[in-house]
Symmetry: C2
């Protein structure tokens, strides 16, 4: 390493330390930053200057410094310039959102499309249009997009979607088919991170994403559990009944075949979720029974998940959020009757406030968290 490279890497690390502390502490003076980080006041002032110039931090008025009593000008994270694009391809919709550096949601689009009837190229071209629209509108508000993450309903390996059986995708190299750079991640993982950063549940939970597929993301101590190859959390393919109906994954009797959106609508004899909700509210028996059975199957799969993963609480999101009043009780009763002896308490079942937006928000949030952890590489790309 040359002297210059070493110096840059030290500056990069310190810049991350300073910005991280600004995020944690809220409005804070340069003097307090120097004291907390152990850096000199001169170094901190220079770095804060760079961060202000990059629009990542802004002065936020005078603040009296605790013990010393000398007022200083405080700085805080600024949401006025840097933002991130979150994208999602799911089986029956596309969505996009823009989140700024303070994690404020600046815009959100969802578009219903049946992506099963489209080729990967067509779907990705629709997504590209949606992304461009979002980026243009964000630019109109003075925002500059630092990066984007795309949530897909299947396991991901670098830029490749290995298998998204509900989309009919196999080995789709998304990075080659999109006209802009994007990070890929699994929808259920990003939904769990969305719940962690934008939701109301503290740091230990299993977030269940009910869509046409059913996925889950486990957060323990504020960290997403990904397993050895990043493929953990496929709750939708947990075996509910070993000789049950065949699933697109190649297995039989997977949870998706009982509680996935399509399976549920089929059991209720209905075409869409709004119709199902209307029937449930009207107390229509077939729909109530379909939800009862889906909730029981969910309870069986969650019993296995609780025994294996020991989550703090369980948060139901996606389509399970609007359906919560009808599936909560059968799922909870099934879990209680099966888990009661082994555990003092069965994990609580709660509902996500984010519903179907969790994955798109998590996707954007992931970019913001990376920028805050490593502002130097962001500065390097935005400088002339």
């Amino acid at each position: 390493m040359t002297q210059a490279v070493r110096h840059d890497s030290m500056r990069a690390r310190n810049l991350g330390v300073v910005l991280g502390e600004v995020r944690r502490s809220g409005p804070i003076t340069r003097a307090a930053l120097a004291e907390i980080t152990g850096l000199t006041k001169t170094t901190v002032s220079k770095m804060v200057g760079d961060l202000i110039e990059a629009g990542m931090v802004a002065e936020s008025g005078a603040l009296r410094d605790g013990e010393r009593g000398r007022p200083g000008t405080a700085v805080a994270l600024s949401g006025r310039r840097v933002a991130a694009l979150g994208l999602e391809i799911n089986v029956d919709y596309l969505s996009a959102c823009v989140v700024d550096l303070t994690l404020a949601v600046r815009l959100r689009y969802t578009q219903a499309v049946d992506n099963r009837r489209a080729s990967p190229v067509e779907t990705l071209s629709h997504l590209e249009e949606l992304a461009h629209r979002a980026v243009e509108e964000a630019r109109g508000e003075g925002l500059s997009i630092a990066g984007s993450t795309l949530a897909v309903p299947g396991p991901v390996d670098g830029g490749l979607v290995h298998a998204a059986p509900n989309l009919g995708w196999h080995d789709v190299r998304v990075s080659d088919l999109l006209g802009f750079p994007v990070e890929l991640d699994n929808e259920a993982n990003l939904a769990a991170l969305g719940e962690l950063w934008f939701g109301s549940v503290p740091g230990d939970f299993l977030h269940v994403s009910g869509e046409i597929g059913v996925g889950a993301g486990l957060v323990v101590g504020g960290t997403l559990f990904r397993g050895a190859r990043g493929l953990a959390g496929e709750l939708g393919h947990v075996v509910v009944s070993p000789d049950g109906p065949a699933c697109r994954c190649g297995g039989r009797g997977c949870l998706e075949q009982y509680a996935g959106q399509d399976a549920l609508l089929r059991a209720a004899g209905l075409a869409g979720v709004p119709e199902l909700l209307a029937h449930l509210q009207a107390g229509e028996r077939g729909s109530l029974e379909a939800c009862q059975r889906a909730g029981q199957a969910l309870g069986v799969a969650l019993t296995s998940a609780v025994h294996l993963m020991d989550p703090g609480t369980i948060v139901l999101g996606g389509v399970f959020a609007p359906l919560f009043p009808w599936i909560r009780d059968p799922a909870h009763e099934t879990m209680t009757s099966r888990l009661g002896v082994m555990r003092r308490a069965v994990p609580e079942l709660t509902v996500s406030r984010l519903g179907g937006d969790a994955a798109t928000l998590g996707a954007a949030g992931q970019v913001i968290h990376r920028v805050i952890a490593n502002p130097w590489s962001h500065l390097a790309t935005t400088r002339p």
Copy 2:
């Protein structure tokens, strides 16, 4: 904090750093230790002196120091004085082992006892006898026991076994019933740690302990995954068939009801594992079919576990180790047919070399790892 306390806590930390480095590096000179740890040579020499006096480290001959070329006397971990006691209560046996500071196994006892026919007090009094025998024999070899951990077949909360349904234990406060201090942990967790420290599988695996109960411990990146409340890994109660036979846990159709040792022997119409092995080796049909069905049930439960936890490899231990030649294929075929589409590769099924000893070894290993991480508190208790 007083000056003296602060100084002690700094010494304690540094002592752990020095001993940890000795363990990692093998024979190493004091000069090299000073260079790696950043401590002064005087400090390192004083600490090495204390560790030699405590019998935790010993001089191991001259070693030439890489660049400098000046030979120095190397020190290495010593197994001659400090040791740990590992204990296990399982449904049909008790066991004890003594492991020294270098993780060499110094002695091992297993005693077949049907603990279902005994009260917790009786079982713990048997265990106490076994422990005393082990400690006496270790003393005869000049070893001093730094601590002990006890593996139990059920979830643990501090000194309390909340529920070990296969033993018939509910809320047994072991710490009050044993005449010596012991740490409690779940058998499946300790077996996974035993595999990590004493086995042959690298750092990403799910270790399955087949006993009368079936448990599992997941190791990711060399760390045991415990879940939010320390209750993760209860593979034996993963639902194989939701309407299957009732289980002692309160559920139905749990894996234990198909592949636990009792269920397997019942299906084969035999009384013990040695008999079952003899029948299998003789190609007796009923026993082969019983193993086939147990292997398939294990494959269904592992399919759910792989989808949820994404382990690197799967290591079968306990009674599944001697039965491996007969249950591996049905389990692997079941997993392959169910997991194939979603995953490029199904996790490999391997056999533990430790068999039924994994938990007892993990229990002793846990004490040794704590002593090495914090030798100061060990010195404090052994000093006059």
